[in-house]
């Protein structure tokens, strides 16, 4: 792992993105960044899955992929929806015995298969997901996992993780007009 940026800082910020993203190397590709910000805003603010549940999936990926930035960020909407820091801390080893809801435990199990070997989702887990979520919600959660994982890995491979970072609540991504 490298916390030293592997690319120089980009020359100019991109309008419409958050400060953190603006300062990142993603700003080297302004059109791609604008399109990504739109995707991410749609996922978080125009979706069919409640924000706390998506945050559980995002944080499970953050811990598994081991992205320091993603691990320490909290989205305000999920916090407001009841995912306290105490609950967030339980998205870890031993989550099966935690106070997390059964829905949230199902999401963690699903995320673990997605992140390790997505060909190994068994019948029992499929049935569990269909008991807990609608097909639209499952698709949205899965697309979210794809984005969470992919962009966590970008931070890791390009050395975009901070040396140290406290837990930080940031606004939930919204879709630009």
């Amino acid at each position: 792992m490298s916390t030293t940026p592997r690319l120089p800082s980009p020359p100019a910020p991109v309008g419409g993105a958050s400060d953190a993203i603006n300062r990142s190397v993603l700003a080297y590709q302004p059109e791609l960044l604008r399109a990504f910000v739109r995707v991410y805003g749609t996922l978080w603010s125009h979706g069919v899955v409640d924000q706390a549940t998506k945050e559980v999936a995002r944080l499970r990926n953050a811990r598994t992929t081991d992205c320091r930035y993603c691990r320490n960020v909290r989205f305000a909407g999920a916090r407001a929806a009841g995912l306290s820091e105490g609950l967030a801390a339980q998205i870890a080893e031993g989550f099966e015995e935690s106070e997390l809801s059964e829905h949230h435990k199902a999401v963690i199990r699903y995320a673990d298969v997605f992140l390790t070997d997505p060909t190994r989702l068994g019948d029992a887990q499929r049935a569990e997901m269909l008991r807990c979520f609608t097909p639209s919600q499952i698709v949205e959660l899965t697309a979210g996992l794809a984005l969470f994982m992919g962009f966590s890995k970008i931070a890791v491979v390009l050395g975009q993780e901070p040396e140290q970072m406290p837990t930080t609540v940031v606004p939930t991504p919204t879709r630009p007009a």
Partner: protein, 159 residues
């Protein structure tokens, strides 16, 4: 075949599943298309990386399709057939090898990425091209897994 009990209209199983979230499908398609229309990276390099990601993850659907811009740019089936042996095959350029090394490490062990791995790509693509490549890898890795876990692996139309 997908285990989802319902899907939406769409040209492919992938589109049909994602169509349950139509706004997300539209925004993702717009994002993905930019890799091929803006051409921040040679489409042959991108396509080789997409196919290598599919090989690693075992996604027959992604392996079966071809991206039209890469084919139009001259990507041959002979080169694709050599992809398993990219380290030793003479069919690949220095840039293609550097990109494939980054693609493999991105999928399998991102924390194992070295300064030299990224440096070999950025020396040839510059910072902007390197960012575009890793964003494409993020999409390929994430949405190949999406296909596999949802069972929407039937080949789709080439983009």
């Amino acid at each position: 075949m997908t285990w989802l009990p319902e899907t939406a209209p769409g040209a492919t199983p992938f589109d049909q599943a994602l169509g349950l979230c139509p706004d997300l499908r539209a925004d993702l398609a717009a994002f993905q298309d930019l890799f091929w229309t803006l051409r921040p990276v040679d489409p042959i390099v991108l396509e080789l990386c997409r196919l290598r990601v599919a090989q690693i993850l075992g996604c027959d659907a992604e392996l079966a399709r071809r991206s039209a811009p890469a084919v139009a740019a001259g990507l041959t089936e002979e080169k694709i057939a050599a992809l398993d042996d990219w380290r030793v095959s003479g069919a690949f350029s220095d840039l293609e090898r550097a990109a494939l090394r980054v693609a493999e490490t991105f999928v399998l062990d991102p924390h194992g990425m070295s300064d030299a791995d990224v440096g070999a790509v950025s020396a040839r693509l510059g910072p902007a091209g390197t960012v575009a490549l890793v964003e494409a890898l993020a999409f390929f890795d994430g949405f190949t897994r999406f296909r596999l876990i949802l069972g929407v692996g039937a080949p789709g139309a080439a983009r």
